[in-house]
């Protein structure tokens, strides 16, 4: 049975602009979508494309470990959201207003705004690649880094829901990680950054649970 490293080696042809395009699409989906299933899928694929690009910069084994951490994070999110939506459905069944479902293939105003903002950030990222190329990394990886960082920040800035902020932080960290491995390939730093990502996911999950328990509000000042 092929190992993860073998699989990554076979897909290495994607570790260039196709991966960057994949990152753009997945990060864009995270910005636009509020459906948790779509978000988890997008995050999973995003980590896949990031790992592909990582294989060009560091040893495949280390890239695979990073990928595994990322997919574990996706698993944490999946389990948390599944439980949260089950709780919310039970509350809805007791008489609260049913959650809105997509009935028509029409984007809401919010989603349209997020899409436009995402496009703007993507253009800015492309411009940044031309003006401020990152040292020690190829151009396409630079573009991927800027896209992840920019879209991650946009995701954090557009809302305050725990999951949204958590996804944004992880996206941002992925972008930075993609750049930093080229500068500092130390395993200790890799491990610590992985631990940081995992703890962010745990903290996000904890807040999501708190949100559901408290009835779906986010405490404001």
């Amino acid at each position: 049975m092929p190992t993860l490293i073998d699989l990554l080696a076979r897909l290495s042809f994607l570790a260039a602009m196709p991966a960057v395009a994949g990152i753009l699409i997945t990060a864009g989906l995270l910005v636009v979508s509020r459906g948790w299933r779509l978000n988890v899928i997008a995050l999973t694929l995003q980590y896949f494309f990031v790992v592909l690009l990582l294989t060009r910069l560091i040893r495949p084994e280390v890239a695979a470990v990073k990928g595994l951490i990322g997919w574990m994070i996706c698993m944490v999110f999946y389990l948390t959201e599944r439980r949260a939506s089950a709780l919310e459905r039970s509350v809805a069944a007791e008489g609260a207003a049913p959650s809105q479902r997509w009935r028509r293939w029409v984007m809401s105003a919010r989603a349209s705004f997020c899409l436009l903002a995402g496009i703007l950030v993507s253009v800015a990222a492309y411009t940044a690649v031309l003006r401020i190329p990152l040292p020690e990394v190829p151009t396409d990886v630079t573009l991927a880094c800027y896209l992840l960082a920019g879209l991650g920040l946009l995701l954090i800035g557009l809302g305050e829901a725990p999951m949204q902020v958590g996804l944004g932080l992880l996206t941002f960290l992925s972008g930075f990680d993609l750049f930093y491995v080229a500068l500092e390939p130390s395993l200790a730093v890799t491990g610590l950054l992985g631990a940081v990502s995992f703890l962010i996911a745990l903290a996000t999950a904890q807040l999501r649970v708190a949100q559901v328990v408290a009835g779906g509000e986010v405490k404001t000042t």
Partner: protein, 474 residues
């Protein structure tokens, strides 16, 4: 032989687990938490660095012995001792107060865990690992900041967000400086490193315009956990900054050093001083008041002298008094008001919770830097030191203190509204505060006033700590 750094890292972690298991017995878990923090704080300053100490028969503890962790060295140096003592002893005080006001919260176990991480951040070399440990601590803080049964707070998320954004700057700086060693003619690398460090520490310390996490942490979290973040975690960030300045002396000689710190500090002072009296909730008021205090410390560092450094360190030492008192008062009032600390909701509550109100007032005095409180001692000396060179800055600091106190007065006027006589049985029953809470409040107030009257308890420590840093001339 047991290495000191190993003790400082493992004991809090182990005790965190034990305290978590025993959390349902509030007094026992508090006693363990306070005892652990107190013992470690005392041990780190009293045990000698240069010779082992016999402990329990044949076993020896060598505080100065280095330990390797993830291939990196952890070593306790002279400058680190007092910094770590500050972290541990402040934590002991916060755990003591939490015993009465938030007895079953995750603050004690998570706080011990955070102490372990922050100790590691101060001990580890090279410095880039320190910021990673601080980031991990920020993520774990959320568990302490989140109140049980309450909606998710913005404070923890914002704190985590801004700390995460600070991470890249520091990590890349390390690479830039390593490059500079290889190519010393590329001066642009130094400028880039300085700029990245400045932005990163601006994010970590809550410098305007990256300050919004400070009032959010203070206002939207468990108050004492917020105090833990604003004093201990923030204190670790401060010591990290000083370590950077000590390790890279060229930072200190940068032409914009003084003006950058002074400007950043004044911006915080002005924003905090303007927004504090405008707040409608006590928690946010506490946050903006803390912003003023933090800004004052930056102004002190911007004086670019040993005196300024001493004053900045003194501000770190006295800040926990004010914030911990305010947080204790806030917790007491929120507990009697359904977790609502808006001024409208607090009307008349001061008569039912007099000790929480008193503690809030004294905490407010200290954070605002007004007499008679611990905070006044450092504000007095800072204003005095600033007058010859920057009278405007001294005046702004005074006015910002008044602004912060004005917010406390507004809160107090709401708290002291005389309640109307109850109609029928609809007057809500509020449990009295109890003699134990009153005793804790009295001890805390006396500690704050005591330091305010006898600052020679702390000021020489700040001076001694400043002497361990050599990057500024006396």
């Amino acid at each position: 032989m047991i290495a000191g750094p190993l003790l400082l890292l493992t004991i809090p972690l182990v005790m965190a687990g034990i305290v978590y298991v025993l959390l349902r017995w509030a007094s026992l878990s508090a006693l363990l938490a306070v005892g652990t923090a107190l013992a470690l704080g005392i041990a780190v300053v009293t045990l000698p660095l240069d010779q082992p100490v016999h402990f329990w028969g044949e076993r020896q503890i060598a505080m100065g012995e280095a330990v390797t962790f993830l291939g990196r060295e952890l070593v306790l140096e002279q400058a680190d001792r007092m910094a770590m003592a500050f972290l541990f002893l402040t934590a002991a005080g916060i755990f003591f107060l939490a015993w009465r006001v938030t007895p079953h919260s995750l603050l004690s176990p998570m706080g011990l865990g955070l102490l372990s991480l922050l100790s590691g951040a101060l001990l580890i070399r090279p410095l880039i690992y320190a910021v990673l440990l601080i980031e991990i601590a920020a993520a774990l803080s959320i568990f302490a900041l989140q109140a049980e049964g309450q909606p998710p707070t913005r404070g923890g998320l914002r704190y985590l967000t801004f700390t995460t954004m600070a991470l890249p700057g520091v990590l890349v700086t390390n690479w830039l400086l390593e490059r500079y060693v290889l190519t010393p003619d590329e001066v642009g690398l130094l400028n880039a490193a300085a700029a990245l460090l400045a932005v990163s520490f601006a994010l970590l310390l809550g410098v305007v315009p990256f300050h919004t996490w400070v009032p959010a942490v203070a206002g939207d979290s468990v108050p004492l956990a917020g105090t833990f973040v604003l004093t201990i975690s923030n204190g670790a960030a401060w010591f990290l900054l000083l370590d950077f300045l000590e390790t890279y002396p060229w930072l200190n000689t940068h032409p914009y050093f003084g003006s950058l710190f002074s400007t950043a500090g004044l911006a915080m002072v002005v924003v905090g001083g303007l927004l504090a009296p405008a707040q409608r909730r006590l928690g946010a008021l506490m946050g903006y008041s803390a912003l003023v205090d933090s800004g004052g410390a930056l102004v002190a560092l911007g004086m670019h002298s040993r005196l300024g450094l001493t004053l900045a360190l003194l501000s770190l030492l006295v800040r926990p008094f004010g914030l911990a008192l305010m947080a204790t008062g806030l917790s007491g009032l929120r507990a009697r008001n359904g977790d609502d600390d808006s001024f409208d909701a607090l009307r008349g509550l001061g008569w039912k919770a007099p000790w929480s109100t008193a503690v809030l007032v004294f905490g407010g005095l200290s954070v605002a830097g007004l007499p008679v409180s611990a905070g006044f001692t450092w504000r007095w000396s800072l204003c005095r030191a600033l007058m010859p060179s920057s009278p405007g800055a001294a005046l702004l600091l005074l006015l910002a203190g008044v602004g912060a106190m004005a917010g406390v007065w507004r809160g107090l006027s709401a708290l002291l509204v005389r309640p109307r006589p109850p109609e029928g049985n609809r007057f809500p029953r509020v449990t009295p505060e109890g003699w134990l809470t009153a005793a804790v409040a009295i001890v805390a107030i006396l500690a704050c006033v005591g330091v305010g009257l006898f600052p020679q308890v702390l000021a020489p420590l700040a001076a001694r700590l400043a002497e361990t840093y050599t990057f500024l001339a006396p």
